[in-house]
């Protein structure tokens, strides 16, 4: 896992992917506008595998699934936030974008830090802050099943949704 790009509280879906671009479902075209209204240099700053760290209520506002889609398609491997807006949270799980809720980690990790994340054991290690570790609560079994099954559509298609 890689470098951190940091944002504040209440990053809303209107700045993640402005509604004016939602007249298409083309993922590449949508992704070219990711984070455009909060961070016009987003695509220049990141490389595949980078991690977004943010404050409270990340992804608030609209239910548009285009928001987690463009973040995932941009190459962001994980979002760590103090908290997530609930629709963004379920959309991320449903499409298989990794998210971690950790107020402590979200507060202490800085822009540019390098992290390593062990999902299996629920551990974030900040390589840029003397290996400081954060323990993360695992997802409930039901949600882990959706994630492991490749997202909600794949799970539903296999008839495993019950």
């Amino acid at each position: 896992m890689n470098k951190v790009i940091k944002y504040g509280d209440n990053v809303d879906t209107d700045v993640i992917i402005p509604a004016r671009y939602l007249n298409t479902t083309n993922k590449q075209e949508l992704t070219s506008h990711a984070m455009e209204d909060i961070d016009p240099d987003f695509h220049k700053k990141i490389t595949a595998g980078d991690i977004i760290v943010a404050g409270k209520n990340f992804g608030c506002g609209s239910s548009r699934e285009h928001a987690p889609i463009v973040i995932k398609e941009s190459g962001i491997a994980l979002i760590i936030a103090e908290s997530f807006a609930r629709i963004f949270y379920r959309n991320s799980i449903n499409i298989g974008l990794a998210i971690i809720e950790s107020p402590e980690a979200a507060k202490e990790i800085n822009e540019g830090d390098e992290l390593s994340v062990d999902f299996e054991n629920g551990l974030i290690t900040n390589k840029s802050q003397n290996g400081k570790e954060y323990k993360v609560a695992p997802f409930p079994e039901f949600l882990q099943g959706i994630i492991n099954g490749g997202g909600l559509v794949a799970v539903a298609a296999s008839g495993e949704l019950h």
Binding site: R86, N94, V153, L161
Partner: protein, 427 residues
């Protein structure tokens, strides 16, 4: 159990549910619009041999970029239209049969008390006003909901909002919900239900309740919900909705938090940029000039909202330079406004009247702001760039505040309108 928990338990086939429990619930209605349905359709088509679980329970409403604002929007609506045809979905709404989704579904009697509704639109929480559990989800949930008739939910805790008193003239549900969001913040109800109770409920119209539940999401809420009373039952009867199923919260229901609001003390309230929690009353509002006023949307585009605005506009003119756009939320509301003479009042006051659309609310079309411009709007969000340029500003308010502000050319308390001099009105 809370009211929400009761409805969820019944739809999951369980006697009881506990906060945090993950359940699969049966759905009474699955909704999407022209922006979210195309993504859902792509996902639905990834499920081999997928069939719609019940075509009568699907609603596809073309409202966000409709009437089609450009070629791409037209293609998206066509995708939805073709899908509805292919799967024999009767509930496809477009053209002269359309309206803003959360005004349209209650009006057409497609939601009743006790229902569980998901919609690929965050303001699906509106129908809590009718005693239903309804919540916004993404397109993938919509796709799987269409295929299976089910959705997963984490059972929410609830905030209880006890209402007393009754609203003063010129004050409406919008002021109540902006006040509430100002109190608890944009994440104040995160992962939670907001359940309204108390003697004050009886003084609120269905229109007020729909507006209040509509903005539960702006406090991060999973849903907002009102108990079912005579007013609800009368409304449901008038829309021809199916037989309501009335659930009530247990006496010993546990709430995460209790908030008391005396409706009699609510004042005209405006949420300043760029968060709905930046609620201010006119005691705290200085001179804020505006370039545009928008009255409409799923929050405030109902007939009662237009009547309230028309009372303000009657015999007055909007200030020079203030583009005033009025959008009846459905065709039925438009027609009723026409019959009541409201459209004539708006046009004589110098306002534009548009066909139903979500248009300007999300910066889609029909009223986009340039850099540095300000709008007062009866919509629901004032995030950065929401109605246009990233350097524009949106001030959220009620229909009476928006109308009074359009006339004054600046944010204005509707209760003080008679004090505006004739000169100021005409300037």
């Amino acid at each position: 159990m809370t009211l929400t928990q009761k409805i969820l338990a019944a739809h999951a086939g369980k006697e009881t549910v506990a906060v945090g429990e993950l359940i699969l619930a049966n759905l009474d209605r699955v909704l999407a619009n022209d922006i979210t349905a195309p993504v859902a359709i792509e996902e639905f088509n990834r499920i081999a041999d997928a069939k719609i679980f019940d075509p009568d329970k699907i609603s596809l409403v073309m409202d966000h970029f409709a009437p089609n604002k450009d070629i791409k929007a037209a293609e998206q609506c066509k995708t939805c239209r073709d899908f509805a045809g292919e799967h024999s979905i009767p509930g496809f709404y477009d053209g002269g049969d359309m309206g803003v989704e959360h005004a349209l579904l209650p009006e057409k009697g497609l939601v009743t008390a006790g229902d569980v509704v998901i919609g690929a639109d965050s303001h699906t929480c509106t129908y809590g006003a009718l005693g239903a559990f309804s919540t916004g989800v993404g397109s993938t949930d919509m796709a799987v909901g269409m295929a299976t008739g089910k959705a997963w939910f984490k059972v929410p805790a609830a905030i209880k909002v006890e209402l007393t008193g009754s609203l003063q003239p010129y004050i409406s549900g919008k002021d109540v919900v902006l006040h509430l969001i100002g109190l608890i913040g944009v994440d104040g109800a995160l992962y939670q239900s907001i359940e309204f109770t108390g003697e004050g409920v009886a003084s609120l119209s269905i229109s007020d309740r729909l507006c209040i539940c509509n903005m539960a999401i702006e406090a991060g809420g999973k849903n907002g919900i009102f108990p079912v009373d005579e007013i609800t039952l009368e409304y449901l009867k008038s829309t021809g909705a199916k037989e309501p199923k009335i659930y009530t919260a247990d006496e010993d229901a546990v709430y995460a938090r209790v908030i008391k609001i005396n409706l009699s003390e609510i004042e005209p309230t405006v949420a300043f940029p760029h968060l709905p929690e930046n609620a201010k009353t006119f005691k705290e509002i200085g001179e804020v000039k505006i370039d545009q006023a928008v009255i409409g949307s799923c929050t405030n585009g109902r007939l009662e909202d237009l009547v309230a605005a028309a009372e303000i506009f009657k015999g007055r003119r909007v200030a020079k330079g203030v583009r005033t756009i009025i959008i009846p939320a459905t065709q039925k509301i438009y027609l009723e406004a026409l019959k009541l003479g409201l459209l004539e009042i708006f046009i004589n006051a110098g306002a534009l009247v548009s066909a139903p659309t979500c248009g300007p609310c999300l910066g889609g079309h029909m009223g986009i702001l340039a850099a540095g411009e300000r709008a007062v709007a009866t919509t629901n969000r004032n995030f950065v760039g929401r109605m246009g340029h990233v350097k524009s500003e949106v001030y959220l308010a009620s229909p009476t505040v928006a109308a009074a502000s359009a006339i004054a050319g600046k944010l204005f308390d509707p209760r003080l309108l008679p004090q505006l001099t004739a000169g100021a009105v005409e300037n």
